[in-house]
Amino acid sequence: MTNRDHGEVMIEVDHLTRHYGPAPALQEISFRAYRGEIVGFLGPNGAGKTTTMRILTGYLPPTSGRAFVAGHDVVTDSMAARRSVGYLPETTPLYPEMTVWNYLDFMARLHGVRDRDTAIERAMSRVDLNDRADQQIGRLSKGLRQRVGIAQAVLHDPPVIILDEPTIGLDPRQIREVRSLIEELRGDHTVILSTHILPEAQQVCDRVLIINRGRLVAEDTPDHLTSRLSGGQRVRLSTAPEIAAAGVRAALGAVTGVAEVSDVGPGIYHVDLEAGLDARPELARAVVAQNWPLLELVPVGMSLEDIFLELTRDAVDDGVDVDSYDEVVSLGEGDLAADDNQDEEVNLDG
């Protein structure tokens, strides 16, 4: 069990399933997000990220299961749930003929914001748009439009902000800007963002949910995911490039505690060790015993990208039951399950 003493549960998703026609887009997904957290949805296109977000924002109803935003059921108490969410859909929804100010004023009215001028000015300064108030949205660059979209999502100061692929289609500098905007939201808001850019999730998110084919296949902090999923340790070992790779692989593979050896470059090998065994001294001895030079022997972590590819590839390639990852990965299974005092925990209004 990880220690999840983050306090208030802001998003509670309980065995959510959604079908489009007979095809399941989302199957039995359960998770929680806490106040002040940035949670990343990671997954290939069509994995169910957008569907999950649309259910949370009240755009789509679930086929079965329940979801709560700030304690409000998204189906039975939809209006209250919608009021608690700021949402930026994947296709940044803007009216090109409006000015930035008029657009934000329109959205502020729809959300029933009392002091609209203050709210709009605050939102615009958060995304650094102050000098663009009177510009027509249709004439803004894509990066600026994305900022208008984010301003719209934070306008009514909602406890939960949901951003669907907020950096898609932006150039690298704009991506960095949007990322730092998202990081500034940390603490005050619970942020859920979806992405298929792995470094983005690694950099911005406190926690990552990997979704594949409508199922939650992994859930943890980026760091934990990296260490947990690789099971054991991975070591990079370098020797002289002219030594035949097959011979090196055989010699290293014979060492006790080595799970797999793969060559990744001339004279460079990745050695995956079995969990709990530090076989580095034996590896060093094995190399020296052959009279090969040992140039490098360092532990490397598996990147989130490796993990992501591994998880999603397995599920696609041979239909491995992705649930089997739950044991390894999902550390919070106990508190995700529908337990008896769930309703009390979810009800934040009381």
Partner: protein
């Protein structure tokens, strides 16, 4: 209610900013001004606005669908509908708010023809019978409102404005010419009289008689409410598919 008016306000702003409104308003004024000048300058002309208003109604059959085709189709295409439907606003408020905005703009166009009335009042030596004139204008506004509601309905079923506009014009023309069925089947047959009642044109022309029949008003209002109700249900159904 505040949300509905917020939607209406934005829609009115969008109309003023869009070329289609100015093109339609200009075309309508050029056409009606042209016809008006012919009618008042022909020999033996009478100070009678009613034939003109009948004509304006038939022009609306095309103007209103072209005004309303954008309303929901564009929101669906650009993704802004998702924004509206995830805001704390009821679906029906989106539909009625947009319709109300379009109605306001159509009202502006209709109001411009009051200029013709002013000229007519100046020219008429024996005065003008105000009753039928007021009735005709009420009929014109109700007709426009009904046509726009049909346009909102067709605009809810597609992302494509052109398709929405085309469907609306087709639907409107079919409704307009339904009374022809009365002539085909005979007004004493059940089918004939039903077609006659369902037809749009007869109800509209009744308003020009100077007698406001509640049946005509009810017909127009039901057409409006029915179309907008269906449009709302169609929007809602997008959530459930």
């Amino acid at each position: 209610m505040a949300n509905l008016l917020t939607i209406t306000r934005r829609e009115i702003g969008a109309f003023f900013g869009s070329p289609i409104f100015w093109v339609l308003a200009t075309a309508f004024m050029v056409f009606s001004g042209f016809v008006f000048s012919i009618i008042v300058t022909r020999p033996g002309a009478q100070a009678d606005m009613l034939p003109l208003l009948g004509l304006y109604g038939t022009v609306l059959l095309f103007v209103a669908p072209l005004m309303s085709m954008r309303l929901l189709a564009e929101e669906q295409r650009s993704g802004t509908l998702e924004l509206l439907m995830t805001s704390p606003v009821d679906d029906w408020q989106v539909v009625w708010g947009k319709w109300l905005g379009a109605l306001f703009m159509l009202g502006v166009i209709i109001a411009l023809t009051l200029f013709h009335v002013a000229v007519m009042l100046r020219l008429a030596t024996e005065g003008i019978d105000v009753g039928p004139l007021a009735g005709s204008y009420l009929g014109l506004v109700l007709l426009g409102a009904a046509l726009l509601a049909i346009g909102v309905l067709t605009s809810s079923v597609t992302q494509n404005q052109v398709v929405a506009g085309f469907l609306a014009i087709m639907a409107v023309l079919i409704l307009w010419f339904l009374p022809l069925g009365e002539q085909v089947f005979g007004s004493d047959s059940a089918l004939g009289s039903t077609l006659g009642y369902l037809g749009l044109s007869d109800h509209y022309f009744n308003f020009g008689q100077g007698l406001i029949d509640s049946r005509d008003v009810v017909y127009m209002l039901s057409l409006i409410a029915g179309s907008l109700f269906l449009a709302t249900r169609i929007l809602e159904s997008r959530r459930w598919r």
